[in-house]
Amino acid sequence: MSISETVALTAPQMRRIAAIDALRAPAYALGATMAGFATIAREAGFDVWMAVTTSALVWGMPGQVAFASLYSAGASLFIIFFAVTLANMRMLLMVVSAADMMHLHMHKLPLWRRVILMQCLAITSWAHLAVAETTYPRHLLLPYFQGFSLTLYASGMLGTVFGYFLPDMVPPDLLQIIIFITPIYIFLLIATARQKANRLAVAFGGILCPVFYPVAGEWSILLAGVMGGTLAIGYARFIAKWHLEERR
């Protein structure tokens, strides 16, 4: 569909299209990822309510995994808080970037509604928003996000419950393959970002983070993000002089 054909869509229609987009693949992949978290959580000693509450309120895989592994190791509450906070710091940048992509300021939502909206933000919905931005007109990106992220959220909760009770029924080899889907899926999405500067940032961040990890541990994500992102924008702006202004 071209932008001109999509302008006439209403917000409920957009939400439905987004929900169907989510059900094409990402919802299953994310449900499987959350099922993977639930198996880790069960091994760590979570009951099912704790696992579901963690998925619902943290809603960010790296933080959830950090939480479950520290919990099983019997780490102090302070260490848990610190590690989860560090692991999910990227949310700050993702929220700012998502609000920009959705043109959230146009919609003049009250603070509490913006906060609830962003509580539903996950890497998958953020990455998909960047794709939707190229297809749909700007006033429909908020409804798109609502339909897409709520569908993902629901499948994530279902995945957590299923994963908690089902791991004995799925062979470990198959489970590995299922858990492999989400990181690859999102990587493919962001590696094909429309802006060259963002693709370059993906390359820099992707290379730097595993290199830093043995030395910097959980800090490697932050370091790789800031350094990779700065190098990419620096190169794009000052060396290659790509026209960032023409992005929309």
Partner: protein, 110 residues
Amino acid sequence: MDDYGFWGSWLAVGLAAVGTFIWRFAGVLLASKIPAQSPLMDWVNTMAYAMVAGVLMLMLVHPTGILAASGLDDRLLGLVTGVGAMMLTKRIILSLLCGILMFAASLHLF
């Protein structure tokens, strides 16, 4: 694990939730301060992309949980196949399938 007890466990869940929520909340506040289409916003975007790519590569190179049982070569082969297919075909589901199938094949054949 009964290291934490009932209240300790739920306090841990609450702290994990707060530790994530503060970033989302800060993001909402910050978003209204940064002008759209400004160089600052472009910088925020590249940092977000780099950070997400970093998180994903960390899951693939230094995984925790069940994925850690597979080999690094299996995972990287799957990634390279997926990205290669994406560059050739530009079709995401197809490329995803290629990557996943290569990972599965690599797990069982090599």
